[in-house]
Amino acid sequence: MPNSRIPTHPPDGSPPDLDEAAPFPAPDAKRVKFVPSASPDPAEADALARAQAGDHHAFAQLYSLHKRRIYSLCLRMVGNIAEAEDLTQEAFLQLHRKISTFRGDSAFSTWLHRLTINVVLMQLRKKGLSLISLDEAMEPVPEEGPGRSFGAPDLALSGTIDRLALERAVADLPAGYRLIFILHDVEGYEHNEIASMLECSIGNSKSQLHKARLRLRDALRANSQKEAQP
């Protein structure tokens, strides 16, 4: 499928180019979460100041500026369009309620990003999904022991990964695994931050991320084998 394979190792050793529309581009090859620009968009700064003063037009402008990033974040975290719409709505409602409390200690986009993650996590907890899946994910599963993940060299993922296959595999992860994977590997949060957000131990965060990656590897290998069949 054209443009769906991700070059994971650019020939010149530089970090791969990201889609310019990507919300949180990593500035170097190491996993780095979004770092706010030192000179924020003047239009956003103006809209923010006016929205904090109760200007509805300005709030609408902020919505326009951030709706795609927030909706996409919600969609990544829950993997469901209808839920992502509801969560986006709730995130902007929370923003409307709390916007006067933003003091500029971080970039507004970073603050809104974190607010949105909290909205998603709160919703998942309300539904019981997160806690159940986290508990399940933390239970040792015999068939997921270390030996199961041995990789025959001829099946190793080499050089490129099918982006769509990986996205499908992420969407198919249990909610607890998906949350950790999205927060750490996609959004760039550290284990201590994730542990704090999800109220679990750092060790559990590391362990679940590892299991999530193992599941993704299994899914990708199964997909490769399926594609290789005549």
Partner: protein, 93 residues
């Protein structure tokens, strides 16, 4: 945690992997990885997946009518009459 030859088994190494990777240690420099093709392949795959994750999920546009729902909810919270519309956003990123 070693076999008769003093070497770590694959199971033992893989049991340590979440902590090794999660703590930022260069797991590729581990003596077991140097001598074990299977675990080397596993580690490479996991790192490849982690790298690829940074490029996942394109930014997508929410449905056009989402603003109307948000606007309606805000008005409801504010106790505004239904026809006291907030402006439709005109600028989009």
């Amino acid at each position: 945690m070693t076999d008769d030859t003093g070497k770590m088994s694959c199971a033992q190494f893989q049991a340590r992997l979440p902590e090794l990777i999660g703590s930022g240690v260069n797991a590729g420099a581990d003596p077991h990885i140097q001598s074990c093709e299977l675990c080397r392949a596993l580690l490479t795959d996991l790192m490849t997946i982690a790298e690829a994750a940074r490029q996942l999920f394109p930014i997508v546009e929410p449905p056009d009518d989402l603003w109307k729902h948000i606007e309606s909810a805000i008005k409801s919270e504010n106790g505004d009459p239904p026809d006291a519309g907030l402006p439709l956003p005109v600028h989009s990123n």
